[in-house]
Assembly symmetry: C2
Homo-oligomer: 201 residues x 2
Protein backbone atom coordinates (compact mmCIF):
# COMPACT_ATOMS: atom_id res chain seq x y z
CA UNK A 1 0.00 0.00 0.00
CA UNK A 2 1.62 3.26 -1.08
CA UNK A 3 1.39 6.36 1.08
CA UNK A 4 -0.32 8.11 -1.84
CA UNK A 5 -3.09 5.55 -1.74
CA UNK A 6 -3.80 5.99 1.95
CA UNK A 7 -3.77 9.73 2.40
CA UNK A 8 -6.34 12.08 0.98
CA UNK A 9 -4.73 14.91 -1.00
CA UNK A 10 -4.56 18.35 0.57
CA UNK A 11 -4.93 21.13 -1.97
CA UNK A 12 -3.45 20.25 -5.37
CA UNK A 13 -2.31 16.67 -5.29
CA UNK A 14 0.94 15.76 -7.00
CA UNK A 15 0.37 12.62 -9.04
CA UNK A 16 3.34 10.31 -8.68
CA UNK A 17 4.39 8.94 -12.10
CA UNK A 18 5.44 5.67 -10.43
CA UNK A 19 1.90 5.15 -9.18
CA UNK A 20 0.45 6.10 -12.57
CA UNK A 21 2.67 3.51 -14.24
CA UNK A 22 1.70 0.83 -11.73
CA UNK A 23 -1.98 1.64 -12.29
CA UNK A 24 -1.63 1.42 -16.07
CA UNK A 25 -0.03 -2.02 -15.82
CA UNK A 26 -2.54 -3.16 -13.20
CA UNK A 27 -5.43 -2.01 -15.39
CA UNK A 28 -4.29 -4.14 -18.32
CA UNK A 29 -3.51 -7.17 -16.13
CA UNK A 30 -6.88 -6.93 -14.44
CA UNK A 31 -8.61 -6.47 -17.83
CA UNK A 32 -6.94 -9.63 -19.14
CA UNK A 33 -8.33 -11.61 -16.20
CA UNK A 34 -11.81 -10.13 -15.69
CA UNK A 35 -12.71 -8.61 -19.05
CA UNK A 36 -13.98 -5.04 -19.45
CA UNK A 37 -17.54 -5.82 -18.36
CA UNK A 38 -16.39 -6.96 -14.91
CA UNK A 39 -13.43 -4.58 -14.56
CA UNK A 40 -13.69 -2.42 -11.43
CA UNK A 41 -11.67 0.47 -10.06
CA UNK A 42 -11.45 -1.51 -6.79
CA UNK A 43 -9.89 -4.52 -8.51
CA UNK A 44 -7.29 -2.38 -10.27
CA UNK A 45 -6.43 -0.47 -7.09
CA UNK A 46 -6.02 -3.75 -5.19
CA UNK A 47 -3.75 -5.18 -7.89
CA UNK A 48 -1.62 -2.00 -7.93
CA UNK A 49 -1.55 -1.98 -4.08
CA UNK A 50 -2.91 1.54 -3.84
CA UNK A 51 -6.17 2.94 -2.54
CA UNK A 52 -9.15 3.68 -4.77
CA UNK A 53 -8.51 7.41 -4.26
CA UNK A 54 -5.26 7.06 -6.22
CA UNK A 55 -7.36 5.98 -9.21
CA UNK A 56 -10.15 8.53 -8.80
CA UNK A 57 -7.67 11.39 -8.43
CA UNK A 58 -6.46 10.54 -11.94
CA UNK A 59 -9.55 9.32 -13.76
CA UNK A 60 -13.24 9.66 -12.94
CA UNK A 61 -14.34 6.36 -14.51
CA UNK A 62 -13.17 2.91 -15.45
CA UNK A 63 -13.44 3.89 -19.11
CA UNK A 64 -10.99 6.75 -18.68
CA UNK A 65 -8.71 4.56 -16.53
CA UNK A 66 -8.69 1.97 -19.32
CA UNK A 67 -8.02 4.51 -22.07
CA UNK A 68 -5.12 6.00 -20.10
CA UNK A 69 -3.54 2.57 -19.70
CA UNK A 70 -3.98 1.74 -23.37
CA UNK A 71 -2.67 5.04 -24.65
CA UNK A 72 0.39 4.77 -22.40
CA UNK A 73 1.21 1.12 -23.08
CA UNK A 74 -0.37 0.19 -26.41
CA UNK A 75 0.06 3.17 -28.70
CA UNK A 76 3.90 3.29 -28.60
CA UNK A 77 4.09 -0.33 -29.85
CA UNK A 78 2.98 0.83 -33.30
CA UNK A 79 5.96 3.21 -33.61
CA UNK A 80 8.36 1.46 -35.98
CA UNK A 81 11.79 3.10 -36.48
CA UNK A 82 12.68 4.13 -40.05
CA UNK A 83 14.82 1.34 -41.55
CA UNK A 84 15.11 3.15 -44.87
CA UNK A 85 13.23 0.35 -46.67
CA UNK A 86 9.51 -0.36 -46.98
CA UNK A 87 10.14 -4.09 -46.87
CA UNK A 88 12.03 -3.82 -43.57
CA UNK A 89 9.50 -1.39 -42.11
CA UNK A 90 6.55 -3.64 -42.99
CA UNK A 91 8.38 -6.66 -41.58
CA UNK A 92 9.08 -4.76 -38.34
CA UNK A 93 5.44 -3.61 -38.17
CA UNK A 94 4.23 -7.21 -38.53
CA UNK A 95 6.68 -8.34 -35.86
CA UNK A 96 5.46 -5.63 -33.46
CA UNK A 97 1.82 -6.52 -34.16
CA UNK A 98 2.63 -10.21 -33.69
CA UNK A 99 4.37 -9.69 -30.37
CA UNK A 100 1.48 -7.56 -29.17
CA UNK A 101 -1.23 -10.05 -30.11
CA UNK A 102 0.54 -13.14 -28.70
CA UNK A 103 1.36 -11.39 -25.41
CA UNK A 104 -0.62 -13.14 -22.63
CA UNK A 105 -2.10 -9.85 -21.41
CA UNK A 106 -2.79 -8.08 -24.72
CA UNK A 107 -3.88 -11.30 -26.43
CA UNK A 108 -6.85 -11.36 -24.05
CA UNK A 109 -7.41 -7.59 -23.72
CA UNK A 110 -7.67 -6.71 -27.41
CA UNK A 111 -10.46 -9.17 -28.38
CA UNK A 112 -12.29 -8.42 -25.12
CA UNK A 113 -12.33 -4.66 -25.73
CA UNK A 114 -13.32 -5.23 -29.36
CA UNK A 115 -16.27 -7.26 -28.16
CA UNK A 116 -17.21 -4.81 -25.38
CA UNK A 117 -17.10 -1.92 -27.86
CA UNK A 118 -19.68 -3.69 -30.04
CA UNK A 119 -22.22 -3.07 -27.25
CA UNK A 120 -20.95 0.30 -25.98
CA UNK A 121 -20.76 3.18 -28.44
CA UNK A 122 -18.99 5.45 -25.93
CA UNK A 123 -16.27 2.87 -25.37
CA UNK A 124 -15.95 2.31 -29.13
CA UNK A 125 -15.55 6.05 -29.71
CA UNK A 126 -12.96 6.40 -26.92
CA UNK A 127 -10.99 3.39 -28.18
CA UNK A 128 -10.81 4.88 -31.63
CA UNK A 129 -9.84 8.36 -30.39
CA UNK A 130 -7.29 7.29 -27.76
CA UNK A 131 -5.84 4.14 -29.30
CA UNK A 132 -6.91 3.41 -32.86
CA UNK A 133 -6.30 6.85 -34.32
CA UNK A 134 -2.86 7.45 -32.71
CA UNK A 135 -1.70 3.94 -33.69
CA UNK A 136 -2.93 4.51 -37.20
CA UNK A 137 -1.03 7.79 -37.45
CA UNK A 138 2.18 6.03 -36.45
CA UNK A 139 1.54 3.27 -38.99
CA UNK A 140 0.73 5.84 -41.68
CA UNK A 141 4.18 7.34 -41.19
CA UNK A 142 5.71 4.07 -42.47
CA UNK A 143 3.70 4.39 -45.67
CA UNK A 144 4.38 8.12 -46.09
CA UNK A 145 8.15 7.47 -45.89
CA UNK A 146 7.85 4.82 -48.61
CA UNK A 147 5.83 7.13 -50.85
CA UNK A 148 8.54 9.80 -50.43
CA UNK A 149 11.22 7.25 -51.38
CA UNK A 150 9.22 6.26 -54.47
CA UNK A 151 8.59 2.72 -53.20
CA UNK A 152 4.81 3.20 -53.15
CA UNK A 153 2.51 5.06 -55.58
CA UNK A 154 1.83 8.69 -54.65
CA UNK A 155 -1.93 8.09 -54.79
CA UNK A 156 -1.78 5.11 -52.41
CA UNK A 157 -5.07 4.45 -50.59
CA UNK A 158 -3.58 4.68 -47.09
CA UNK A 159 -6.77 3.60 -45.33
CA UNK A 160 -6.92 0.39 -47.34
CA UNK A 161 -3.18 -0.19 -46.98
CA UNK A 162 -3.45 -0.06 -43.19
CA UNK A 163 -6.40 -2.49 -43.20
CA UNK A 164 -4.52 -4.87 -45.48
CA UNK A 165 -1.35 -4.77 -43.36
CA UNK A 166 -3.01 -5.27 -39.96
CA UNK A 167 -5.93 -7.52 -40.88
CA UNK A 168 -4.38 -10.88 -41.84
CA UNK A 169 -2.25 -11.15 -38.70
CA UNK A 170 -5.13 -10.07 -36.46
CA UNK A 171 -7.38 -12.67 -38.08
CA UNK A 172 -4.75 -15.37 -37.70
CA UNK A 173 -3.58 -14.64 -34.15
CA UNK A 174 -6.55 -13.03 -32.39
CA UNK A 175 -9.51 -14.69 -34.15
CA UNK A 176 -8.25 -18.09 -35.35
CA UNK A 177 -5.54 -18.18 -32.64
CA UNK A 178 -3.13 -20.15 -34.82
CA UNK A 179 0.55 -19.34 -34.14
CA UNK A 180 2.92 -18.23 -36.90
CA UNK A 181 6.69 -18.50 -37.32
CA UNK A 182 9.29 -16.14 -38.77
CA UNK A 183 8.93 -17.51 -42.29
CA UNK A 184 5.18 -16.80 -42.18
CA UNK A 185 5.97 -13.16 -41.33
CA UNK A 186 8.55 -13.03 -44.14
CA UNK A 187 6.12 -14.42 -46.69
CA UNK A 188 3.25 -12.28 -45.48
CA UNK A 189 5.45 -9.16 -45.84
CA UNK A 190 6.11 -10.08 -49.48
CA UNK A 191 2.39 -10.69 -50.15
CA UNK A 192 1.45 -7.37 -48.56
CA UNK A 193 4.06 -5.44 -50.58
CA UNK A 194 2.52 -6.91 -53.74
CA UNK A 195 -0.97 -5.95 -52.53
CA UNK A 196 0.20 -2.36 -51.91
CA UNK A 197 1.73 -2.15 -55.39
CA UNK A 198 5.26 -1.63 -54.04
CA UNK A 199 7.73 -0.86 -56.82
CA UNK A 200 10.50 -3.25 -55.81
CA UNK A 201 9.12 -6.57 -54.53
CA UNK B 1 -45.20 -22.73 -26.14
CA UNK B 2 -44.91 -25.74 -28.47
CA UNK B 3 -46.27 -29.12 -27.49
CA UNK B 4 -42.77 -30.52 -27.90
CA UNK B 5 -41.50 -28.17 -25.22
CA UNK B 6 -44.06 -29.25 -22.63
CA UNK B 7 -44.14 -33.02 -22.92
CA UNK B 8 -41.31 -35.28 -21.87
CA UNK B 9 -40.29 -37.64 -24.68
CA UNK B 10 -41.42 -41.27 -24.42
CA UNK B 11 -38.86 -43.62 -25.92
CA UNK B 12 -37.11 -42.13 -28.94
CA UNK B 13 -38.22 -38.56 -29.32
CA UNK B 14 -38.74 -37.19 -32.79
CA UNK B 15 -37.00 -33.86 -33.00
CA UNK B 16 -39.08 -31.41 -35.01
CA UNK B 17 -36.90 -29.57 -37.55
CA UNK B 18 -39.09 -26.48 -37.16
CA UNK B 19 -38.24 -26.33 -33.45
CA UNK B 20 -34.54 -26.95 -34.16
CA UNK B 21 -34.52 -24.04 -36.63
CA UNK B 22 -36.29 -21.74 -34.16
CA UNK B 23 -33.76 -22.70 -31.46
CA UNK B 24 -30.81 -22.01 -33.75
CA UNK B 25 -32.12 -18.54 -34.57
CA UNK B 26 -33.03 -17.88 -30.92
CA UNK B 27 -29.54 -18.93 -29.81
CA UNK B 28 -27.86 -16.39 -32.09
CA UNK B 29 -30.31 -13.61 -31.23
CA UNK B 30 -29.87 -14.26 -27.52
CA UNK B 31 -26.07 -14.42 -27.95
CA UNK B 32 -26.09 -11.04 -29.68
CA UNK B 33 -27.91 -9.51 -26.70
CA UNK B 34 -26.35 -11.25 -23.70
CA UNK B 35 -22.94 -12.40 -24.92
CA UNK B 36 -21.69 -15.97 -24.50
CA UNK B 37 -20.71 -15.57 -20.84
CA UNK B 38 -24.30 -14.77 -19.81
CA UNK B 39 -26.04 -16.99 -22.38
CA UNK B 40 -28.37 -19.52 -20.75
CA UNK B 41 -30.43 -22.42 -22.03
CA UNK B 42 -33.42 -20.84 -20.22
CA UNK B 43 -33.02 -17.57 -22.11
CA UNK B 44 -32.84 -19.30 -25.47
CA UNK B 45 -35.83 -21.53 -24.72
CA UNK B 46 -37.86 -18.49 -23.65
CA UNK B 47 -36.93 -16.60 -26.82
CA UNK B 48 -37.85 -19.61 -28.99
CA UNK B 49 -41.11 -20.10 -27.00
CA UNK B 50 -40.33 -23.71 -26.15
CA UNK B 51 -39.55 -25.46 -22.89
CA UNK B 52 -36.01 -26.09 -21.69
CA UNK B 53 -36.52 -29.81 -22.38
CA UNK B 54 -36.67 -29.00 -26.11
CA UNK B 55 -33.11 -27.73 -25.82
CA UNK B 56 -31.78 -30.46 -23.58
CA UNK B 57 -33.24 -33.20 -25.79
CA UNK B 58 -31.03 -31.85 -28.58
CA UNK B 59 -27.90 -30.62 -26.83
CA UNK B 60 -26.56 -31.28 -23.34
CA UNK B 61 -24.87 -27.90 -22.87
CA UNK B 62 -24.96 -24.29 -23.95
CA UNK B 63 -21.68 -24.83 -25.81
CA UNK B 64 -23.20 -27.56 -27.96
CA UNK B 65 -26.37 -25.53 -28.46
CA UNK B 66 -24.22 -22.61 -29.67
CA UNK B 67 -22.12 -24.75 -32.00
CA UNK B 68 -25.25 -26.29 -33.54
CA UNK B 69 -26.67 -22.85 -34.25
CA UNK B 70 -23.43 -21.60 -35.75
CA UNK B 71 -22.83 -24.64 -37.91
CA UNK B 72 -26.40 -24.45 -39.24
CA UNK B 73 -26.53 -20.70 -39.86
CA UNK B 74 -22.94 -19.48 -40.23
CA UNK B 75 -21.08 -22.15 -42.16
CA UNK B 76 -23.24 -22.03 -45.34
CA UNK B 77 -22.53 -18.28 -45.74
CA UNK B 78 -18.96 -19.12 -46.80
CA UNK B 79 -20.18 -21.24 -49.73
CA UNK B 80 -19.63 -19.08 -52.80
CA UNK B 81 -20.97 -20.40 -56.13
CA UNK B 82 -18.42 -20.95 -58.92
CA UNK B 83 -18.51 -17.88 -61.17
CA UNK B 84 -15.76 -19.25 -63.40
CA UNK B 85 -13.43 -16.38 -62.48
CA UNK B 86 -11.18 -15.87 -59.45
CA UNK B 87 -11.85 -12.15 -59.46
CA UNK B 88 -15.62 -12.69 -59.32
CA UNK B 89 -15.30 -15.44 -56.71
CA UNK B 90 -13.10 -13.29 -54.45
CA UNK B 91 -15.47 -10.36 -54.88
CA UNK B 92 -18.44 -12.58 -53.94
CA UNK B 93 -16.53 -13.97 -50.94
CA UNK B 94 -15.81 -10.43 -49.70
CA UNK B 95 -19.45 -9.47 -50.18
CA UNK B 96 -20.60 -12.52 -48.20
CA UNK B 97 -18.09 -11.80 -45.42
CA UNK B 98 -19.16 -8.14 -45.42
CA UNK B 99 -22.87 -8.93 -45.16
CA UNK B 100 -22.14 -11.37 -42.35
CA UNK B 101 -20.05 -8.95 -40.30
CA UNK B 102 -22.39 -5.96 -40.64
CA UNK B 103 -25.47 -8.02 -39.77
CA UNK B 104 -26.82 -6.74 -36.42
CA UNK B 105 -26.82 -10.24 -34.92
CA UNK B 106 -23.56 -11.64 -36.31
CA UNK B 107 -21.76 -8.32 -35.94
CA UNK B 108 -22.13 -8.72 -32.17
CA UNK B 109 -21.85 -12.51 -31.97
CA UNK B 110 -18.58 -12.98 -33.82
CA UNK B 111 -16.41 -10.60 -31.73
CA UNK B 112 -18.09 -11.85 -28.55
CA UNK B 113 -17.32 -15.51 -29.28
CA UNK B 114 -13.78 -14.59 -30.31
CA UNK B 115 -13.30 -12.90 -26.97
CA UNK B 116 -14.95 -15.71 -24.98
CA UNK B 117 -12.75 -18.27 -26.75
CA UNK B 118 -9.64 -16.43 -25.55
CA UNK B 119 -10.56 -17.52 -22.00
CA UNK B 120 -12.09 -20.94 -22.78
CA UNK B 121 -9.95 -23.49 -24.61
CA UNK B 122 -12.87 -25.93 -25.00
CA UNK B 123 -14.97 -23.27 -26.69
CA UNK B 124 -12.04 -22.25 -28.89
CA UNK B 125 -11.53 -25.86 -29.98
CA UNK B 126 -15.25 -26.38 -30.68
CA UNK B 127 -15.48 -23.11 -32.65
CA UNK B 128 -12.59 -24.17 -34.82
CA UNK B 129 -13.92 -27.70 -35.38
CA UNK B 130 -17.58 -26.79 -35.98
CA UNK B 131 -17.31 -23.40 -37.66
CA UNK B 132 -13.79 -22.32 -38.59
CA UNK B 133 -12.67 -25.52 -40.27
CA UNK B 134 -15.87 -26.08 -42.34
CA UNK B 135 -15.92 -22.43 -43.44
CA UNK B 136 -12.26 -22.66 -44.35
CA UNK B 137 -12.88 -25.75 -46.47
CA UNK B 138 -15.58 -23.92 -48.41
CA UNK B 139 -13.28 -20.93 -48.92
CA UNK B 140 -10.42 -23.23 -49.99
CA UNK B 141 -12.63 -24.53 -52.78
CA UNK B 142 -12.60 -21.05 -54.36
CA UNK B 143 -8.80 -21.12 -54.45
CA UNK B 144 -8.60 -24.73 -55.69
CA UNK B 145 -10.85 -23.85 -58.63
CA UNK B 146 -8.58 -20.92 -59.54
CA UNK B 147 -5.46 -23.10 -59.31
CA UNK B 148 -7.12 -25.61 -61.67
CA UNK B 149 -7.94 -22.80 -64.12
CA UNK B 150 -4.33 -21.59 -63.98
CA UNK B 151 -5.28 -18.27 -62.36
CA UNK B 152 -3.23 -18.99 -59.23
CA UNK B 153 0.16 -20.69 -58.83
CA UNK B 154 -0.02 -24.44 -58.17
CA UNK B 155 2.13 -24.06 -55.05
CA UNK B 156 -0.14 -21.37 -53.54
CA UNK B 157 0.09 -21.14 -49.74
CA UNK B 158 -3.64 -21.70 -49.15
CA UNK B 159 -3.44 -21.03 -45.41
CA UNK B 160 -1.88 -17.64 -45.97
CA UNK B 161 -4.25 -16.87 -48.85
CA UNK B 162 -7.27 -17.46 -46.61
CA UNK B 163 -5.81 -15.24 -43.86
CA UNK B 164 -5.08 -12.49 -46.38
CA UNK B 165 -8.58 -12.63 -47.90
CA UNK B 166 -10.54 -12.65 -44.63
CA UNK B 167 -8.32 -10.49 -42.42
CA UNK B 168 -8.59 -6.96 -43.84
CA UNK B 169 -12.38 -6.91 -43.91
CA UNK B 170 -12.63 -8.43 -40.42
CA UNK B 171 -10.21 -5.81 -39.11
CA UNK B 172 -12.14 -3.01 -40.78
CA UNK B 173 -15.70 -4.09 -39.95
CA UNK B 174 -15.43 -6.07 -36.71
CA UNK B 175 -12.46 -4.42 -34.98
CA UNK B 176 -12.36 -0.82 -36.29
CA UNK B 177 -16.13 -0.88 -37.07
CA UNK B 178 -15.73 1.49 -40.03
CA UNK B 179 -18.25 0.85 -42.84
CA UNK B 180 -17.16 0.23 -46.42
CA UNK B 181 -18.87 0.77 -49.77
CA UNK B 182 -18.92 -1.22 -53.01
CA UNK B 183 -15.87 0.53 -54.40
CA UNK B 184 -13.87 -0.44 -51.31
CA UNK B 185 -14.79 -4.09 -51.94
CA UNK B 186 -13.84 -3.74 -55.63
CA UNK B 187 -10.46 -2.20 -54.80
CA UNK B 188 -9.79 -4.66 -51.99
CA UNK B 189 -10.48 -7.55 -54.40
CA UNK B 190 -7.85 -6.18 -56.79
CA UNK B 191 -5.31 -5.74 -53.97
CA UNK B 192 -5.92 -9.27 -52.73
CA UNK B 193 -5.53 -10.77 -56.21
CA UNK B 194 -2.15 -9.05 -56.45
CA UNK B 195 -1.19 -10.37 -53.00
CA UNK B 196 -2.11 -13.91 -54.06
CA UNK B 197 -0.02 -13.61 -57.22
CA UNK B 198 -3.03 -14.08 -59.52
CA UNK B 199 -2.02 -14.35 -63.17
CA UNK B 200 -4.55 -11.95 -64.68
CA UNK B 201 -5.08 -8.91 -62.47
Amino acid sequence: MSSEGRRAPTGHATLQPRVSDALARATLEELAVTGYARLTVEGVARRARVGKAAVYRRWPSKQQMTMAALSQLVVPIADVPDSGSLREDVRASLRALHDWLVDPVYGAVVPDLTSAAAHDAGLAEALWREVGQPRRELASAVLARAVRRGELPGDLDVEMALDVIAGPLYWRLAVRRVPVDDSYLDDLSAWLLRALGASEV
